[in-house]
Symmetry: C2
Subunit: 326 residues, 2 copies
């Protein structure tokens, strides 16, 4: 797919991962249609893309079925990344994850079916394993019980994609991510800590006990893995975990951030093993499947955290102090 | 739950399994609110229930959120059985399973949350295992890939229930059924064969090669298992396969039906291992979980088929020749 010049539609094109993918696809000379409703996407993430004649932008929410079908005509391949990615606050708006992530995915699949588009790549999540019983967690982990509305909505989306693959001959590449870091990162632990520390470097409030284990992957490594998976895995439905072969503790990431910011705060822990309702105390994925296709991450978790802090420093006014980012 | 007299809401109350459950709950002196939109439910399945003062009927589609909330007030327990159960034709109306089964379940959960109802039992399906790799298939089978829109919609519903259990303290009993047979049975293989044979006993057209393995469970055994599971399994989320410890071939069921109808048709096979797109060639569930709670099915598959044929004979005019049943 990646070597031939194709017409590719990317949902969530103005998001952190979506916009990074768009840039990479344009580098490879594909025609790219970016779809985003800018509910959390950022205009300026697409600054470079919009200077390219092969890029077009459609301001469409994937829940708008007829508009989505209009965008889909003549498309060869869909990267479906649009989602409500706010895993932490599912319980305060229980229908939002489901609408955007599950029904949104159904709309994408329906638009593909109507327009005869036969290949989808989907951004899923390691949250789908709920409270895993095996670490590192393989793709064929025992049938999990969901612990977050976000995970449940992504599970629903995966199931729909798989059923469409069977019923309508669509090929699918499903990628279950750990948390992604790097340039254009806009929400999660690292930015929360960063925001607190630039406001007041003397104290840092941390949910949980700081011992929570977390896995991260650098965004460029993530994009490389997606493109390698699509090129090299030829089943009808292909499912890959994406992460590094290590994890860190929340306390490790705090240490690295503080070193970069040259602050030594007093740390106030909220206590308990979990940061929030539905938070998994441990996500650590077995990525031997994608590694067998000769993908290797270039950055360690520590390097990815440091790159992210460098990006936040460069964009402090826009990303860190602003309130327009997700 | 079952010994104390409670106010119980049953969705899909006019369906095959729903109406049988309603009768059993009324026998046990519970107050029962039956919810059904009568899209496939049958008025006369509730004839006995409607003679009972403890029963009330609400003509509501579970997609009508505000009406559902009105029904839910003061309820102690929800049996959620309403579903589009037409597993075979998912590909001809791809959104229907999702709307009725996944979004319908979300509506039920939301109504429960709003009204403070803290316990749900859910009718899921063995189709959720897609093409299982282990037989008999245990509840903790490796994370399956979906092969039908019906299975995908039930997977989505299960995930939502599990996430609500975690986020809002709801308890859940999820039952993954094989195909259910018995009195009030209205759609599936047995009725399809029956209809053909009473029209013309000399020929029977069969999808696939007749060698497909199928598992069935008698409806009263199914209801017993549900009530035992709820009484005896005390986790926050409890998941049980429901079936017998045997399976049959489509050809076996044909033989039993023909014996009951005293016909000897020529059999014309459509060929291939599958009956329809997304059909699983083999569903056979490991039911040791529910058996550990000392449930035992009373009828074999053969007995259940024969009972079903007897019911169809008794209701030939209404069920078999009519076109009002799902």
């Amino acid at each position: 797919m990646v070597d031939k010049k194709k017409k590719i539609l990317v949902t969530g094109a103005a998001g952190f991962i979506g916009s990074t993918l768009v840039d990479k696809l344009l580098e490879r000379q594909h025609c790219v249609i970016g779809v985003d409703d800018f509910s959390t996407g950022q205009e300026y993430f697409l600054t470079k893309a919009r200077m390219c004649a092969k890029f077009s932008l459609e301001r469409v929410n994937i829940l708008e079925q007829s508009k989505l079908v209009s965008c889909m005509r003549g498309v060869d391949f869909v990267f479906h990344l649009a989602a409500n990615a706010d895993v932490r606050y599912g319980a305060s708006h229980p229908k939002k994850d489901f609408e955007q992530n599950a029904r949104g995915t159904l709309n994408v699949l329906e638009a593909m079916r109507v327009c005869g588009v036969s290949h989808i790549a989907f951004a899923s999540t390691g949250s789908i394993y709920g409270e895993a019983s095996i670490f590192p967690t393989p793709e064929n982990h025992p049938f999990p019980v969901q612990t977050s509305l976000y995970g449940a909505s992504k599970l629903a989306a995966e199931g729909l994609i798989q059923a469409y693959a069977e019923a309508f001959g669509i090929r699918a590449h499903i990628f279950r991510f750990v948390s992604i870091l790097g340039e254009r990162y806009t929400h999660g632990h690292i930015i929360d800590f960063y925001r607190q520390l630039i406001r007041d470097g003397s104290v840092l409030r941390v949910l949980g006990n700081g011992g929570q284990k977390k896995s991260y992957l650098y965004v460029q490594d993530c994009i490389d893995a997606i493109l390698i998976g699509i090129e090299r895995a030829q089943e009808k439905v292909n499912i890959f975990n994406l992460g590094t072969d290590e994890f860190c503790r929340v306390n490790d990431s705090i240490k690295w951030i503080c070193e970069e910011l040259e602050v030594k705060p007093r740390i106030e822990y909220g206590g308990g093993e979990r940061g929030w309702i539905g938070d998994s105390p441990f996500i650590f994925l077995d990525c031997s499947g994608i590694r067998r296709l000769e993908w290797r991450p270039k950055l360690t978790i520590r390097d990815a955290v440091i790159r992210t802090v460098a990006f936040l420093k460069m964009n402090e006014k826009r990303i860190v102090r602003g309130d327009s980012c997700g």
